[in-house]
């Protein structure tokens, strides 16, 4: 199966090329684009991005696997990432993680059978003053309690 950017994605890619002195530097933003266009960074996506940038698939794979934000496997419609670092832990993140895992019926790293939620643990989201914190897709949710998490997750379509 082959993949290709949509017209919009292609235009954005062309714009990216004008912002950097060489094609290699466009790897990270192009991988984001691929993730947005294809849902996750599949093997096909890696080959496609390598072709666009004129570098080897191995080089793209090496970059994609170094960073935590590129999903090499499909994730649910909502990627729920709960911070478990020190400031969040001090304010109850461990209990929240257990709560969400129980609510969704998945362990961290798992996806619900309906494909709606993937639960992950994050090693510091950089929002320690409003701990505990979670990120759902691009959005942060702060000062969490069990009740507020329930309300947030239940409201997602």
């Amino acid at each position: 199966m082959s993949v290709a950017f949509s017209e919009n994605g292609r235009a954005e890619f062309e714009r990216l090329l004008t912002r950097y002195p060489d094609k290699e530097a466009v790897i990270l933003p192009t991988l984001y684009l691929a993730q947005r266009e294809f849902g996750h960074v599949s093997d096909e996506a890696i080959v496609y991005v390598a072709g666009l940038l004129g570098v080897s698939p191995a080089q793209i794979e090496g970059v994609a696997t170094f960073y935590t934000m590129y999903n090499r496997k499909p994730v649910g419609k909502y990627h729920v990432q709960i911070c478990r670092n020190i400031s969040c832990s001090l304010l109850g993140a461990e209990h929240l993680i257990e709560h969400v895992a129980g609510k969704l019926g998945v362990k961290p790293g798992g996806t619900t059978p309906d494909g709606k939620f993937t639960l992950s643990l994050a090693e510091c989201l950089g929002s320690c003053g409003t701990a505990p914190v979670m990120q759902v897709n691009d959005d942060y949710y702060e000062n969490l309690t069990e009740a507020s998490i329930d309300a947030i997750l239940d409201k997602l379509p």
């Binding site: 991988l31 020190i86 990120q135």
Partner: protein, 422 residues
């Protein structure tokens, strides 16, 4: 108390260029363009502006490291990869006052004769990256970025670049590799970035807060900035207080304010009426302090005297009843996860620290484990390309030195005396 950065952060719309200009925004850039690059660098030196990213190197001195040869392009890279647990201040600047940072970048670039600048924002900060993107577009439209800025003949292109989830990319050479599209592996130094940096060009890497201070320094003069802090530490600092306090958040306070005052007066004291047990004073990698050690000036020199660091300004407050072995275990998980794997002492060492501290906490510690942790620390400290190994060692050593009895109790009793929970 005089503030430099946050004065208008509560004002509606301050992130928009019109409101920012209404408060005198970009006047400092206009003034800077009438000065010489050397004159700007002198003001920053006079200001005693120390880098706000953690290492605290004097910014003006760093700027002076660029080679004198003007035939080569130069690059200013902005480190907005805020990832040190406990630190969340640059996020505040980017979301509430992005133009402060952009104006600082424009002034610094002119001083450095850099025509290209990249803001490297941690990938998770999607919202902040959008806000900065919009602000950059506004600044281009208003003629503060781009070609022939304010008719001065100076050109500057600014690009926002998102990281993709790697704490190590906060280290400047790793950040440069990541910007170039590589794995974020730190580089051996020398050559230093000022000689060979991003895309092989002379490069200065500065933290967001450091650059956001620059417009004020140009407007009011370096001496005025220096007078706000203490000797060798000019200006204010954005101090993020998190953990068990009544009012967590970011406070802009003069460099050299007392740490106890930060926690009790500004952050409202310890949550739930508890006693203070310990403080990690400058982000998760800085050596922990006991409650009786915090009556100290929060400046780089004073903190060094008591064996710790003000670091990136992240004060983490730990209340009574917290298991310090568990707290350390959380930190060791982090460093093991974030080690880039390039240097053996760090890759293996952080993994072992995580494993041994974890088993002590789980009640499976063995006699000699504490000594083993300390021995591992000795074999990691200063033996790697970048300071990530040191960043794991400093909490490990200091937690043991200051709370040794808790580690011993875990091993003697073969359980966590605190019930394995926070």
């Amino acid at each position: 108390m005089e503030t430099i950065l946050t004065t208008h952060f509560a004002d509606d719309g301050y992130r928009r260029i019109d409101t920012y200009r209404g408060f005198g925004g970009y006047d400092a850039l206009r003034k800077a363009l009438s000065m010489t690059p050397e004159g700007i660098i002198d003001e920053v030196k006079k200001a005693n502006l120390r880098g706000r990213g953690g290492a605290g190197f004097p910014a003006g001195v760093k700027w002076g490291f660029l080679p004198k040869d003007l035939s080569r392009l130069r690059v200013l890279v902005v480190n907005a990869d805020e990832g040190e647990p406990g630190t969340f201040k640059d996020r505040l600047i980017m979301s509430h006052g992005p133009h402060l940072m952009i104006e600082g970048i424009a002034i610094a670039s002119f001083a450095l004769r850099a025509h290209f600048s990249y803001v490297y924002i941690r990938g998770e900060f999607v919202r902040e990256a959008r806000i900065v993107d919009e602000a950059v577009a506004e600044a281009y439209a208003a003629g503060f970025l781009g070609k022939n800025i304010l008719g001065s003949g100076f050109d500057l292109d600014l690009t926002v670049h998102r990281g993709a989830g790697a704490y190590i990319c906060g280290e400047e050479t790793s950040l440069i590799n990541s910007l170039e599209g590589k794995r974020g592996w730190p580089r051996l130094k020398p050559p230093f970035p000022a000689a060979v940096g991003a895309f092989g060009l002379p490069t200065i890497v500065n933290n967001v807060e450091t650059l956001a201070d620059v417009p004020w320094i140009i407007t009011h003069g370096g001496e005025k900035f220096a007078s706000i802090g203490v000797e060798k530490n000019g200006g204010t600092r954005l101090i993020g207080v998190s953990g068990a306090v009544n009012r967590p958040g970011v406070y802009e306070l003069p460099a050299g304010i007392n740490l106890k005052e930060i926690i009790y007066n500004h952050a409202g004291g310890i949550k739930d009426g508890k006693e203070l047990k310990a403080v990690i004073p400058g982000g998760s990698s800085t050596p922990v302090l006991r409650a009786d050690e915090i009556d100290v000036s929060y400046d780089i020199e004073s903190m060094a005297k008591i064996g710790t660091m003000a670091g990136s300004g992240g004060v983490i407050v730990i209340p009574e009843g917290t298991c310090m072995v568990r707290a350390l275990s959380v930190l060791m998980n982090f460093y093991a996860h974030e080690s880039c794997g390039q240097c053996t002492p760090c890759r293996e060492g952080t993994g072992w620290l995580k494993k041994i501290v974890g088993r002590i906490e789980a009640g499976k510690g063995r006699a000699g484990d504490v000594e083993l942790v300390l021995d591992l620390c000795d074999n990691m400290l200063g033996r790697t390309i970048c300071p990530l190994a040191d960043a794991a060692v400093m909490p490990a050593q200091s937690f043991i030195w200051k709370f040794r009895e808790e580690f011993d109790r875990h091993i003697d009793e073969q359980k966590c005396p605190y019930g394995n929970r926070f």
